[in-house]
């Protein structure tokens, strides 16, 4: 007998504190699997956000930085500049990355920082009690859009992957989902590519992962995955928005 599926080595034994059915856990696992596959646990440094995944450093058996809300890409920039030979990745929620951290992610991408960003879009502020995020769909009820997000007064959801794809510095940008096993497998591939790029010295890579928040969506976990498929994917189409065009540059090479 061989194990065809087991707990990745890069995860600690600590149980996740996430709510039942929250897909943050799946995404953590995919990152850990990727790090295991690449054999880079000892040379990878993670940067975590403020959000439900704030404790990611307890779950991953890696060196980690706990960054201030929204600033993980700037922290990762500091880390990567000191350790250009290490793999540096960032894990951020949509409030963290797409609201308060907009400037930091845009400019990390524009600079082509050689980091990998895992961007968990669950269309809500999970940790603080289900407030509207920049990614909240129009009409969606949250604690700060109790009558449903009103496009006229509260604006339209930001499509982060599309926005960042306009930047020359962004080498790889993809949107995936984890609402069913097939998509989980695709998500894993995208995450793998995003790490591969960094190791090849290619610039900034970001994978946007559509994720559920059963608690704040007020849905059973299974309903939540359906809701994601039915409502989020139409507005947030899946796919690769940008793939590296030029052959990978050797670190430090300058045009």
């Amino acid at each position: 007998m061989v194990k065809v599926f087991e707990r990745p080595k890069s995860l600690t034994e600590k149980p996740f504190h996430y709510c039942p059915g929250c897909t943050h856990g799946i995404i953590h696992r995919l990152v850990a699997e990727t790090i295991d596959e690449l054999g880079i646990r000892e040379t990878t440094i993670g940067v975590g956000p403020v959000g439900c995944s704030v404790f990611i450093y307890e779950y991953m058996d890696l060196d980690f930085h706990q960054a201030s809300h929204g600033r993980a890409p700037a922290v990762a920039t500091g880390v990567k500049r000191v350790h250009p030979d290490k793999t540096v990745f960032v894990y951020q929620g949509d409030g963290d990355l797409a609201a308060i951290g907009t400037a930091e992610i845009v400019h990390a991408a524009a600079r082509g920082e050689r980091i990998t960003v895992i961007f968990v879009n669950n269309a809500i502020y999970g940790m603080t009690g289900g407030q509207m995020a920049p990614t909240t769909l129009v009409g969606m009820e949250t604690t700060t859009s109790p009558f449903g997000r009103n496009k006229e007064t509260q604006g339209s959801p930001v499509r982060v992957s599309e926005m960042l794809s306009t930047l020359d510095g962004a080498a790889y940008v993809a949107r995936v989902s984890v609402h069913d096993p097939k998509h989980v497998i695709q998500a894993k591939k995208a995450i793998r590519k995003a790490f591969d790029n960094q190791m090849n010295g290619v610039g900034f890579s970001l994978v946007e992962v559509l994720s559920t928040c059963p608690t704040n969506w007020g849905l059973h976990p299974i309903e939540a995955t359906k809701w994601l498929a039915d409502n989020m994917i139409p507005y947030y189409p899946l796919g690769e928005f940008k793939v590296p065009t030029a052959p990978a540059k050797v670190e430090g090479e300058v045009e």
Binding site: L62, V79, E104
Partner: protein
């Protein structure tokens, strides 16, 4: 050792490089721009990294990442930019990261102007960010001292794993004086706590989150013990003609330089006046000041602000002496002759009303 003539802002940069700093993260703002302009070239020479961030918030958080990765790091700005860094500074203190932060103060509040002031004293010494923490705050008064204190700042930051601030103003940043460029023995302590990849050891974590209040209190008590030690070991000041003084001036940085000019003139008139110049604003030389002040009749605090350090002076004297104040605001400099007039008033037994 060769002396060269340098601008204060450039001297900060050169001293940082002498101290082994190879990472600079900043965002443009007057009147500190000569520092990044110098650093971008100088760091290229020594193989360091100069990075202009998208904002001051970006810069302080890049510094967080680089310092947590084990590097000697500097970030620099001026008043409004330093205000923007307050959350980041609180994080640096909470996560115990050694970063040297430079504030070349300018006029406020708000956009104010770009003229020299000392009106960020409270922000620097009492904590402009949230939570209980302290920075070591060093206030040079000459270009040579900028060099010396900047070098020390890196050592202190590493020694205590705590951010250290160099607090200057536009006059200090822009003026030129001779400085000795000496060989510095760079001794960076081993940073076993830094994130370098968890190879053959447990993972390292750079963190300020302690979600359980009991743990957070423990963390804070540990920090407070460290701050106490920092305060004990790092009091710095200069006495100028203070021995026989009957009138004692207290001033730091640029206003201390100008105050010295006034003291020289008062001494010519035979008025016994001296100065205590705090060099470390945190820790503040409370005890030394109390001691020196014992022998004097009156105390005059001179600041380029509405009166901020004066609170620390009053805390030091604890009611033992009257404390007067002369200050200029919004980017105006104290004037030697006006300080002299205040001194004369005090010499005649009156109170200054600066």
């Amino acid at each position: 050792m060769a002396k060269i003539l340098m601008k204060g802002n450039e001297a900060v940069g050169e001293a940082a490089v002498m101290a082994g700093c190879r990472y600079f993260f900043g965002y443009p703002i007057t009147p500190q721009s000569e520092l990044p302009h110098y650093m971008v070239k100088r760091l290229a020479e020594v193989g360091g990294v100069f990075l202009q961030a998208e904002s001051e918030i970006g810069a302080v958080n890049m510094s967080f990442g680089a310092a947590g990765s084990g590097a000697r790091v500097m970030t620099s700005s001026s008043s409004p930019g330093i205000s923007l860094k307050q959350e980041g500074i609180s994080y640096l203190a909470g996560a115990e990261l050694p970063v040297v932060i430079v504030n070349i103060m300018r006029g406020g509040p708000g956009l104010g102007n770009i003229q020299p002031t000392q009106s960020d004293y409270f922000q620097a010494t009492k904590g402009g960010g949230h939570g209980d923490y302290n920075l070591i705050v060093l206030a040079p008064a000459s270009v040579q001292e900028i060099v010396d204190l900047t070098i020390d700042a890196f050592d202190l930051a590493d020694k205590y794993r705590n951010p250290v601030m160099i607090l200057g103003d536009g006059v200090l940043g822009q003026m030129m004086e001779p400085v000795e460029i000496r060989e510095v023995q760079v001794n960076v302590p081993e940073k076993t706590w830094a994130t370098t990849g968890a190879k053959g050891r447990k993972p390292n974590l750079i963190n300020s989150l302690y979600i359980v209040a009991e743990r957070c209190e423990e963390h804070n008590l540990r920090l407070q013990a460290k701050f106490k030690q920092m305060a004990k070991d790092n009091i710095r000041y200069e006495d100028y003609l203070a021995d026989d003084a009957e009138i004692l001036l207290v001033a730091y940085g640029t206003s201390a330089r100008i105050a010295k000019g006034a003291i020289d003139r008062a001494r010519e008139q035979g008025i016994k006046v001296g100065l205590v110049r705090p060099i470390s604003l945190w820790p503040f030389p409370y005890e030394h000041l109390a001691e020196v002040a014992q022998k004097v009749k009156s105390v005059l605090v001179v600041e380029m602000s509405a009166g901020q350090m004066i609170e620390d002076v009053r805390l030091a004297l604890n009611g033992s002496k009257p404390v007067d104040f002369y200050g200029r605001l919004g980017g105006m400099l104290p004037v030697t002759s006006e300080i002299l007039r205040e001194i004369e008033k005090l010499a005649k037994g009156g109170r200054s009303n600066g």
